[in-house]
Amino acid sequence: MTAARFFRHETILAILTIVAMVVLASLSDKFFTADNLLNQGRLMAEVGLVSLAMTFVIVTGGIDLSVGSILGLTAILLGVFWKNVGLPLPAAMFLALACGTFAGWVNGFIITRFSVPPLIATLATLALYRGLAEGISEARSVRGYPEWFFFFGQGEVMGVPFQLWILGIATFVAAIILGLTPFGRATYAIGANEVAARFSGIRVNATKLWIYTGSGFCAALAAVIFVSRVTTTRSDMGTGLELDAITAVVLGGTSIFGGRGTIIGTALGLILIQALKNGLALSGVKGDGTIVVIGLVLIGAILVGALFDRNRGG
């Protein structure tokens, strides 16, 4: 928990990111241009938002596999509320956000009230929420959103994509909550030793419930941005998002066993992954080949972490 130790992991990661950037820039002259970087930032926002909440979840020693499904469900509901129910778009957005947040709350409720392991609980809701999205949409996509709506996914503020601002602010807020507030302390304590946290008067279940609800909210927010960016809703949106988010969090130095991790690490993990994806694609690696690299980087990072832990005698 000492600042020095955290600093070490993040420093390594930051150096790695910079090296990757330099190498990728030398492989393709299109990589290191303001346009490309800002565009990559735009693509990063959805995974990024989810990863921030996922950091909290994993720091408590849990996991949330249902985020991709929540994103899909929220997107579908947004379209349905607007097009089929006929609500004004702002109201539909608000309601869809509320539903996504509620989906996250349900995860937390199942996990805390019935002591279902988070892995299993969210695996079940992964199927359930995606199933609801498919059932409600019946594979029909919703299009034809008004022009102003595309601002969230395609607009720019002072030359920077709108959602990159959102991600930036969210990262800042998340970093402060996890690093500097009593809530953050409680999060770490629960992940490191849940029993001792409870014996110290920490409200363990309430904290977890907030975190899973927050995870649902972030996925829902990502859904709105996603829909706005691609101008359509489909029920398979966000499939596999959980993997990207978990990869970023774990790569960022958060222990999958809980108790350790930072938002800055997650942010660096995100940037590294996005840079690899984009850079490799620009240098001619075929689209999905980059996923292999990410899988390897994920296992490699944890392996190094585990060996490191063992050497410390943890």
């Binding site: 392991p117 995606r130 059932g135 978990i246 999958i256 944890i302």
Partner: protein, 324 residues
Amino acid sequence: MTAAVLSPGRSNLHRFLSGYGQEIVVLLAIVALFVVVGATNHRFLSNTNINSIFAGNAYIAIAAIGMSMVIMAGHIDVSVGALIGVIATIAGTLAVSDYPIWVAWLVPILFAIMVNAGVGTLVAYTRIPSIVVTLGMLSILKGGLISATAGEWISNLPPEFMIAQMRPFGIPSAVWFMVALTILAALFLRYTDFGRSIYAVGGNMEAARAAGINPERTVIGVFALHGLFAGIAGILFATQLQVIQSTVPPNLELTIITASVIGGVSILGGTGTVIGSTLAAILFACIGSALIFLNVSAYWLRAVLGLMILATVLADMIRRRRDT
């Protein structure tokens, strides 16, 4: 069941019912489904439909056998869907090349065993949770598959390669495989030391060590076995249709895990039977088919599955709480 004397106070029937409670529930559900849906729509009971329910989903049941063992040992594998996709593609590629057919069948299975033994080794010795290792494996397999094939379909498969479409004694070979492998696995789990040690390791790892079992070796063995079953499932999947799509079947791992869990395998490890998981796989297939015959949109199938897995898990947790 000649051992009535050995168990005073409880009838064999009682013991049978209490030992296979979950399986019997699933079996009854299947029967009820056939009766109810069959009564409303006779075509549900037609040969074609029953064939497609059983033969078309046998590979899921077979993969669920291996998954059940992994879960019994206290682990999970989310990469099995991608693995099956990769196996199918390797098998198809070999089949359209000049290799003998048995090479096209066996090489992918060996590949699956090796991949999963590797996963098992990582899980057993580094103590990295199986969810993380298999998530990583999922993306490696998936990415590898897509970038290697560029999504091209494999067609013109030689007819002698299509093992799933063969019909010994009038019953699709996929069904034979499903039945035979389920029985073999059940016998294996019951009559071998290794089979019993899976339950022991999943139930109480340190006690297993104290009883002279090597938990690491057991975990690696379980993953390798899981690879074997996934391999066979992959071959059946590959030979079902005239083309191999070279993609990862979406959410296949989820269906397989769900079959294992609903079939009576506790998600906390150490319990379960493979008969249950096979029955559960059949149940899903029946539900999927029944929804169509009842004019319910197939789009709701996954929501139904999600609800079922959630209900099973909650019931399991509540039962456990009552027990302690």
